[in-house]
């Protein structure tokens, strides 16, 4: 019998019209595959977060907002979901919330789900759309009322209100791939532009017209998507009409782009600080939401006030330790802080646990350290294991002396042999299961580690080309807290590159701007390994934008190439500079060849070299080697070098000094020249 009967039905629901039933659609499959391969065995909605399946959080939260009708939409593992619901308190007669499970095996995206719902015509009025992986304590009714009675009254075309939570850049619960900029009308709360920020995006472009017609427009980069939305009944038909809408992002983008055609608008709602909502859509979020639950942000959903009816209550001890009564602790065992331990688990002697969640019926051996890890139910961990930043699935067995670090993920029933040492890997119990249920396009190779342990190999070359974030999350690396930090730092450095380039030009005049753009393009091209042809295109377009003559172009391109090692790699000594420049030249030789085609351009090139050498010590010392290098690469011809060498007479002292410095090279040139002449005459 449910301990917390749904009492709130009468109170806040009265504001809504009588006879209105609040409907909620819960999309149980996230269709993203971020949790694969663990989701081959259990649906993401049943992944335990702080020892409670995600779906229970979702349903409980909906019940607290006195939602009367919930439609669970599942595609895979529908039997497990049905089973789970059957056993839960929602199946009892007294439950005020009716749950219908809808299954569509073929459904592959949110779009498919909505089209299916449209076909089945189950939507009666405005409804709540959430995913089954939601952890929240928010009250839906005020948002629903806001949508229904405020927004709709002045905008009949409003179809969706998206719920956002404030979280500044760098916030732990922000997932890098989810970062988006929202452009909002300040007075109405209408979403005007929703732009996803990919890693590496340096600029955001907003159409001018967005700003012009409105007195105040807000740009928000401090919002985190909760994946909670209030939708009008016209949303499923919109999905049906536009079969290319697959995800919610497609839907939002499509609606904003084709505003006139679809005549639908989107609004947003900001959760106040007391309310919490998050969607556990990947391992990073898994970790941060677990933390938030332990730190009681999601109150009343905290371990010591259980809402699952079959769990005995936890004790809430100091240092944020939650422990059930039946837990047995060995002698000398240290429970440091932020720990949840489920029932019937026993922990061996001298074991050290911190910042971790341990499920029920686990057996943990002696001298084990567990840090930042999530151990699910019925896991046996041998003595002397070190588990650092890992997820260990149900029924796994770890032999003695196993070391897991840097974000390992163990699937269900993995048995690791003694003294295994694993870093950043994903392990599954049998190689077969991965082939069955994964999509064909993602082929995992498995390497056998033990009898029931296969390590998935992610094809590194494949992911090198893509942005790092994806490869990381596949590895589960995000579990490591430091991972998030270093990412933001590297990005900081990345963006700093442009800062350096424009500082050299205190005044924005065109050639300076051109130079900094070229430097920018090259830096980016060098970092991202862009093909030289693209960069040539970019340089050409900047050239026309700033109206720079072709001779200046060769000068500035050379200058930019020369400053690249300093700017981008911040080398500090001549040898380092030279090796770095050599690397740069390897990549960018085609660019230089493209611009340096005649003797005039070569002369400009030399001029750039001279100017740079005059101002930078590193370059001056390596000038001869640079000249030689460029000569070897056929960028500079002998005649031009000689001409340049002879032209310096009577100019400034630095120019003469520079020429004096390269004199040996010139002698060598002359000598080589003579030699070749001789050999020619022979």
């Amino acid at each position: 019998m449910s301990r917390k009967g749904p009492k709130g039905t009468a109170g806040s629901a009265e504001a809504l019209k009588k006879g209105d039933i609040v409907q909620a659609i819960v999309i149980v499959d996230c269709f993203q595959g971020e949790f694969r391969p663990i989701t081959c065995d259990i649906p993401p909605a049943l992944i335990p977060v702080v020892n409670t399946p995600l779906l229970d959080y979702t349903l409980e939260c909906l019940a607290l907002s006195s939602v009367q009708e919930v439609i669970l939409f599942c595609s895979s593992h529908a039997d497990l979901i049905k089973e789970h619901i059957k056993k839960s308190k929602w199946n009892e007669l007294a439950s005020a919330m009716t749950i219908t499970v809808m299954v569509s095996e073929t459904c592959r995206s949110l779009g498919d789900a909505m089209r299916d719902l449209d076909a089945k015509a189950v939507i009666r009025s405005d409804f709540i759309l959430v995913s089954g992986e939601m952890v929240a304590n928010l009250n839906f009714l005020p948002i629903l009322e806001h949508h229904r009675f405020e927004i709709i009254t002045y905008d009949k075309g409003a179809v969706m209100t998206m719920v956002y939570k404030e979280a500044g850049p760098g916030h732990f619960s922000r997932f890098v791939e989810d970062e988006a900029v929202l452009v909002l009308d300040a007075s109405t709360g209408r979403v005007l532009v929703h732009q996803k920020m990919k890693t590496g995006t340096k600029k955001i472009n907003i159409p001018l017209e967005t700003y012009v017609d409105r007195p105040c427009v807000e740009l928000r980069y401090d919002l985190q998507d909760t994946y909670v939305a209030i939708c009008s009944p016209s949303v499923p038909p919109l999905f049906s009409d536009n079969f290319d809408f697959q995800t919610r992002d497609d839907f939002v983008r499509g609606l904003l782009m084709n505003e006139e055609i679809l005549a639908s608008t989107i609004y947003w709602y900001k959760l106040d600080e007391a309310q919490y909502a998050a969607c556990v859509s990947n391992w990073q979020m898994y970790q941060s939401v677990s933390h938030d639950i332990m730190y009681r942000w999601v109150y009343p959903f905290v371990p010591d006030s259980p809402f699952s009816w079959d769990i005995e209550p936890y004790m809430f001890l100091r240092h944020n330790v939650y422990k059930q009564k039946s837990v047995k602790l060995g002698k000398g065992c240290m429970l440091k802080e932020d720990i949840v331990i489920g029932e019937n688990t026993d922990v061996g002697e001298n074991t050290d646990i911190s910042h971790s969640v341990i499920g029920k019926n686990c057996h943990i051996g002696k001298n084990v350290t567990i840090y930042e890890s999530y151990i699910w139910d019925n896991v046996a961990i041998g003595d002397n294991c070190h588990i650092n930043c890992a997820v260990v699935g149900h029924h796994s067995k770890l032999g003695t002396g196993v070391t897991l670090s840097k974000g390992c993920i163990l699937g269900l029933g993995v048995v690791l042999p003694h003294n295994s040492n694993l870093e950043a890997s994903i392990l599954i119990a049998s190689p077969m299961q991965s082939k069955d249920s994964l999509d064909q396009d993602e082929v995992y190779k498995a390497e056998k580690v033990g009898e029931q342990a296969y390590r998935l190999l992610v094809d590194q070359t494949e992911f090198d080309s893509e942005d790092e974030g994806r490869a990381h999350c596949l590895h589960g690396l995000w579990l490591d807290r430091s991972g998030g930090d270093s990412e933001s730092e590297s990005e900081e450095e990345f963006s700093a590159g442009s800062g350096v380039s424009d500082h050299a030009s205190p005044v924005p005049d065109d050639t300076h701007l051109f130079f900094s753009e070229v430097l920018d393009s090259l830096t980016r091209g060098y970092d991202d390994k862009l093909p030289p042809d693209n960069l040539i295109l970019e340089i050409n377009s900047s050239r026309y934008a700033y109206n720079v003559s072709i001779r200046e172009v060769s000068y500035f391109v050379m200058k930019a190439l020369l400053s690249l090692p300093i700017q981008a790699r911040s080398v500090d000594s001549t040898p380092k500079y030279l090796t770095e420049f050599n690397k740069v030249l390897q990549d960018f030789l085609p660019i230089l060849q493209n611009y340096v085609r005649n003797s005039d351009a070569e002369h400009d090139c030399l001029q750039a070299l001279e100017d740079m050498a005059a101002s930078t010590d590193m370059l001056r010392d390596g000038l001869m080697k640079l000249l030689h290098l460029l000569y070897e690469k056929d960028i500079l011809e002998e005649d031009v070098i000689m001409k340049w060498y002879n032209s310096g007479d009577g100019e400034s002292s630095t120019a003469t000094a520079l020429r004096k410095q390269v004199a040996p090279f010139i002698q060598w040139l002359e000598y080589a020249d003579e030699e070749s002449d001789e050999s020619g005459s022979d």
């Binding site: 916030h171 472009n205 159409p207 001018l208 017209e209 740009l219 800062g499 205190p506 005044v507 924005p508």
Partner: protein
């Protein structure tokens, strides 16, 4: 003695957006109510408690300005500086010219600003954050659409700015003219990471009131390439706020730049180490949401002050604005001038008219004959209005003569205009020293047809008619 602020009133502009009016009279001396335009910012500064003020004018009008301001009874110490008219100096050039005279932080005011706002909140923002630049913006004023601007309709679009503020801290993070963009506005992601909540305004009026730290003036004096203050220098400094180099440097490692002897903006912006220590030890932070230090450690900081919605503030830089403020000035007189006494009818004027409403202003030695009807008019000095004249909503500058039987409504008559007998003018703007022929019937709509019939010496100056 060096005071906290020096004020500079920029009155050297030509009034290029209202050439019809400024052909005969410098812009800063156009009458508003019975005072010259430049008096309004000056009295505002006086009330704010500014002691030293530099008034910048073009050289040939210096004596005119002196003469015009004499009877106004300002107590503020005025230093009228003239700039050569021949050179086309921008506002930044003018400031550079004045940089020797600037000894402290400056308050730069344009001569065409009229507001009922107190300047203290603006100065307080400057003090509180020890900002480099603080700019004042007004919300668009609700305008009465019914009124027609004298002169022909123009297609001239008002210049508008795109202003971006950090909503939490009011840092000015983006400033650009809308006309600079084609169809997209791009913004570096770095800016958003630093200021994740930005409010973008497209309809604000830039009051052209800037409070500027002394180091900015030093930088301006050093960096010769800026010509205009707002368009070039301020927007450059605002952009530079998000530069990576905009972090407090403890040691003087300024020579890290490629060309070491060239000073950049940040060289000028370095703050005292003591100030840094105070800031580090204090637990004050101007923003929340990340773990960055106060002001993100930026020595260059620009702020915007958004005037409260209920405050009035305009810039009189178009004919429409000019007419509008003349209509409104009387009702706003109290708040705009801070309780200064308005003498609507000058004691030396000779008014015999019986049909004259309260909202009229008449200047010295003007005479208005009997049997005239004057409604909502601003009449300057030495005007002469003969009997049987009806004036509604008109602005008459000095020495205007209106002969018998004329009917004028919604007109602006510049200096020494003569309107001969029985003329009827509606929505017209008459340039200085012109004579409107007798029996003439003019309105902007009818003008095109009548233009041929009008004697050549009579010219109604209008903005270029798109014939």
């Amino acid at each position: 003695m060096v005071r906290e602020f020096q004020a500079i009133v920029m009155a050297g502009g030509r009034g290029s957006r209202m050439t019809e009016l400024t052909a005969g009279r410098p812009k800063c001396l156009l009458p508003i109510g019975n005072k010259p335009m430049v008096w309004y910012p000056l009295q505002l500064l006086e009330r704010t408690g500014i002691k030293d003020t530099i008034l910048v004018v073009v050289e040939h009008i210096k004596s005119d300005v002196q003469m015009a301001l004499e009877p106004c009874g300002l107590k503020i110490r005025l230093d009228i500086v003239s700039i050569p008219a021949a050179e086309d100096w921008g506002t930044a050039d003018t400031l550079r010219f004045l940089s020797d005279r600037i000894k402290s932080d400056v308050l730069i005011v344009s001569c065409d600003m009229i507001t009922d706002m107190s300047l203290y909140p603006v100065l307080d923002v400057f003090r509180k954050h020890s900002a480099g630049i603080v700019a004042l913006f007004f919300h668009p004023q609700p305008s009465d659409i019914a009124s027609v601007t004298p002169g022909p309709k123009t297609k001239q679009k008002p210049e508008r700015d795109l202003v971006g503020l950090d909503t939490e801290t009011s840092r000015l993070v983006f400033l650009a003219s809308i006309s600079d963009f084609d169809d997209t506005v791009s913004m570096p992601r770095r800016l958003l990471r630093k200021h994740p909540h930005i409010s973008m305004f497209s309809q604000l009026t830039d009051a052209h009131l800037y409070v500027i730290r002394k180091w900015v003036i030093d930088y301006l004096a050093y960096e010769k390439s800026f010509s205009t203050l707002k368009g070039e220098m301020i927007s450059y400094i605002i952009k530079k706020q998000s530069s990576r180099l905009n972090t407090a440097r403890k040691d003087d490692d300024i020579n890290t730049s490629l060309d070491g002897d060239k000073k950049d903006l940040f060289h000028f912006a370095q703050e005292d180490t003591l100030v840094h220590m105070i800031r580090e030890l204090s637990n004050y932070n101007d923003h929340t949401g990340d773990m960055k230090p106060t002001y993100h450690g930026d020595p260059v900081r620009c702020y915007a002050f958004l005037a409260p919605l209920d405050k009035f503030g305009i810039r009189t830089n178009t004919v429409a604005m000019y007419c509008d403020i003349n209509r409104k000035i009387k009702e706003r007189w109290e708040s705009v001038t801070g309780g200064c006494q308005l003498v609507p009818l000058h004691p030396t004027s000779d008014i015999k008219s019986t049909q004259m409403d309260d909202s009229c202003v008449v200047g010295e030695h003007s005479s208005i004959a009997e049997k005239t009807s004057i409604k909502s008019c601003n009449i300057g000095a030495h005007c002469h209005i003969e009997p049987k004249v009806r004036l509604t909503n008109c602005i008459l500058m000095n020495g205007v003569k209106i002969r018998e039987g004329c009917v004028l409504s919604n007109c602006v008559l510049c200096d020494e205009v003569e309107v001969c007998k029985n003329s009827e003018l509606k929505d017209c703007l008459v340039g200085s020293h012109h004579t409107v022929a007798a029996e003439g019937k003019l309105s902007p709509e009818s003008l095109r047809i009548d233009l041929n019939g009008i004697p050549t010496e009579l010219i109604i100056i209008l903005r270029e008619l798109d014939v």
